[in-house]
């Protein structure tokens, strides 16, 4: 049976939008998530801030720092999630140590149980490669959460096989090497990765560097089932100017691009 997350890709290409929870405070985050959903986000990825975000570029590092300074903790995060009354699946993106330390006893189970209870539908853990993922995968299965794996441009074929054997929800295609952050083009690596995943039976969503309608269009035209956008939204949050309206407009623009990509015949301008 398809999970709630997988089902979010059913009708048209999905927009997955990221913001860091608690940037600049929990109440604002709720308002921003609602705005993203109004704009057309099909899945919302809510960052649970960790003090050492090694996969993040400077934009999201800034968001995480602001959220931590404003006092966001795993517990207030879960409270925030439980309070959110939106109609799309919520995915928690965080680092392994926070999951591991949650609760009275060390281990991943208490966090996964609490996240499921609060309404989280899936987890993305950028510092947890497939080889270390057994305990978390087991806990996610037990509590009905998807564990979403990232496929990098450098991922070898045997690693890809191991990931696909465990992945659920969607496959997170890392569009380029490096850290998160908005860029002005779509990398060739994205196209190569999508081709490699052609036969996978999960939806494929591309992230890292997407910030504009045209990127979303090109990526979906190239075979993706969705686009993941973070830094472009976080930049709006950081500006503190008319944030909710601009988030909604940005989401609408990106969603429109993704939908356009699905209407066109694939690969018009590949080099």
């Amino acid at each position: 049976m398809a999970s709630e997350i997988e089902a979010a890709f059913d009708d048209d290409p999905a927009l997955i939008s990221y913001v860091a929870a608690g940037d600049p405070d929990a109440e604002s985050t709720k308002e921003y998530v609602r705005a993203l959903v109004r704009g057309g986000a099909d899945i919302v990825e809510l960052g649970l801030p960790f003090s050492e975000p090694i996969a993040e570029g400077s934009t999201i590092q800034g968001a995480i720092r602001r959220a931590l300074e404003a006092g966001m903790t795993p517990q207030t995060y879960l409270d925030l999630v439980a309070d959110l009354d939106v109609d799309v699946p919520l995915v928690c993106m965080t680092y392994y140590n926070l999951i591991y330390q949650y609760g009275d006893d060390r281990g991943v189970e208490p966090f996964v149980a609490a996240a499921a209870e609060a309404g989280i539908a899936g987890l993305i853990v950028p510092d947890l490669p497939v080889d270390e993922s057994d305990p978390l995968k087991e806990a996610c299965d037990a509590h009905g959460l998807d564990l979403i794996f990232m496929v990098a441009p450098t991922t070898t074929d045997d690693r890809l096989d191991r990931m696909l054997a465990r992945a659920s929800g969607f496959v997170y295609v890392q569009g380029r090497l490096g850290t998160t952050g908005a860029r002005s083009d779509v990398s060739d690596e994205t196209h190569v990765s999508l081709d490699r995943l052609d036969a996978a039976d999960l939806p494929k969503a591309v992230g890292f560097g997407i910030s504009e309608r045209e990127h979303a269009r090109e990526i979906v035209a190239g075979g993706a089932d969705g686009v993941i956008v973070g830094s472009a939204f976080v930049d709006i949050v950081a500006s503190q100017e008319n944030v909710a309206d601009r988030l909604e407009a940005k989401a609408r623009e990106l969603k429109a691009g993704a939908v356009e990509g699905a209407e066109k015949v694939p690969e018009p301008e590949r080099t």
């Binding site: 050492e52 996969a55 510092d127 990232m150 890392q174 090497l177």
Partner: protein, 431 residues
């Protein structure tokens, strides 16, 4: 011979997927070149350590300290290695390995600047591009090393995030590596990070104990009762311990930075020390499961030490494992005791030790204080470590020389009224 990703429950490979292929490629290269000496890698490494690095370093009987503590004290003089610290053993090994792997760019983090300097030297020696990441706080307190790196033609990238020390420098180097992983090797500076780094760095550093074990048998006719080394990440520590681990009669003391005390400022997520073996809890940081300074949620605390090279919230997974196994005893001394020890060695033995190494020497003073003149470390806990524990024959690893620390030492000694410090007053503020 092969490699094992874990030390008991510690270690592992907790890094982003983008880095995993590089980590696997490195594991393969480590097993072939370092463990199996393919293409004569180990022979070339040893030859360069001797010719370029100046190995072996002496094991010197410290006459004044031996008299002061009424026992035989030997110093392993890693301060005499080229560059002035043990760091070259590892940096040269990894830069050479990067060449064997066909990489054309090196990145590294540095705290005290000793690892950055050693990497920049090795990169110049072996003709490969080199970029170093260093926290802003560390740049300000270890300026001579910044200049040395630049003079060796390495780029030095300041890291402004957080407290601007080693932890942030590692984060930023990992980000660079994740971006440029195809042509770049990350020369990590201690026995930390994902497998194979902790084991590989230990192997490169083990030359310290390999030599010391031979040398002490030659000079003293037997194995030592104890080996004492400071521990930040723990590379000089495991380097000095490794060949003695199976000698169960030899006690191993890892001396951590006690900073200004082992308490934790929960309000500000700040630890005024860097004693992750003594006071840390199990967790995952920078690719490995190890002992960490963290709050109950798992957020990593900012550490502190007067010595930049010890100022780190984590520690090598192998040391965490050996501590749980009761094979290594973790102890700690504070900033003031380290400063006293810095001046003591400089005056009594004519050796200016690094502030990091001064922690090992300060522990000697505390543990052997029953025969000392009473000016022992202020953080001593009566009865917890007696002179008997160190025994009659002690090897202390002097992991580096202290030239890089002079500005800090003069300023801090004055501010803290360190007894052993000479007056510098007449040299200050002259026209």
């Amino acid at each position: 011979m092969s490699s094992e990703p874990k030390f008991g429950d510690y270690g592992g490979q907790y890094v982003p997927e983008a880095l995993m292929p590089a980590v696997e490629e490195l594991t393969d290269a480590y097993e072939r070149y370092v463990l199996k000496n393919e293409d004569g890698f180990v022979d070339e490494f040893r030859r360069r350590l001797a010719d370029f690095g100046g190995r072996p370093t002496p094991l010197q009987r410290a006459d004044a300290l031996s008299e002061r503590y009424d026992r035989e004290i030997y110093l392993k003089r890693e301060d005499l290695l080229h560059g002035g610290a043990h760091k070259l053993n590892n940096a040269l090994g990894q830069v050479l390995l990067a060449k064997y792997m066909g990489k054309d760019r090196i990145v590294a983090e540095t705290g005290a600047g000793q690892h950055g300097t050693a990497t920049a030297m090795a990169a110049a020696h072996l003709d490969i591009d080199c970029e170093i990441y260093m926290g802003r706080t560390d740049i300000n307190r270890q300026r001579p090393n910044v200049f040395r790196m630049r003079i060796h033609d390495a780029a030095v990238n300041p890291v402004e995030m957080g407290s601007g020390t080693l932890k942030e420098a590692i984060n930023e180097t990992m980000r660079d590596w994740a971006t440029n992983v195809e042509d770049t090797h990350y020369v990590i500076g201690s026995i930390v990070g994902p497998h194979p780094f902790p084991q590989m760095v230990r192997d490169f550093q083990s030359v310290i104990s390999e030599e010391a074990r031979e040398q002490i048998r030659e000079k003293a006719g037997r194995l030592p009762d104890s080996v004492v080394a400071c521990a930040g990440g723990g590379s000089n520590t495991m380097g000095a311990f490794h060949e003695f681990v199976d000698d169960e009669a030899v006690d191993l003391y890892a001396v951590e930075a006690g900073g200004s005390g082992l308490t934790i400022d929960e309000e500000n997520d700040l630890a005024p020390h860097s004693a992750s073996l003594s006071a840390g809890e199990e967790g995952v940081l920078h690719g490995a499961r190890t002992k960490l300074l963290q709050n109950p949620d798992g957020q990593i605390l900012e550490s502190h030490s007067v010595s930049a090279g010890l100022d780190y919230s984590g520690v090598g997974p192998e040391l965490a494992h050996l501590v749980d196994d009761d094979r290594v005893t973790p102890v700690n001394v504070g900033d003031d005791a380290a400063l006293e020890a810095f001046h003591r060695l400089s005056k009594l033995e004519g050796i200016i030790p690094a502030l990091e190494s001064s922690h090992a020497l300060a522990y000697l003073e505390r543990a052997a204080r029953s025969v000392a003149d009473g000016s022992s470390g202020e953080q001593s806990e009566p009865g917890d470590d007696s002179a008997d524990e160190l025994g009659d024959l002690v090897v202390v690893n002097v992991s580096g020389r202290g030239d890089k620390d002079l500005d800090t030492v003069i300023e801090e000694s004055d501010a803290r009224d360190i007894d052993a410090a000479p007056s510098m007053e007449v040299f200050n503020g002259g026209e």
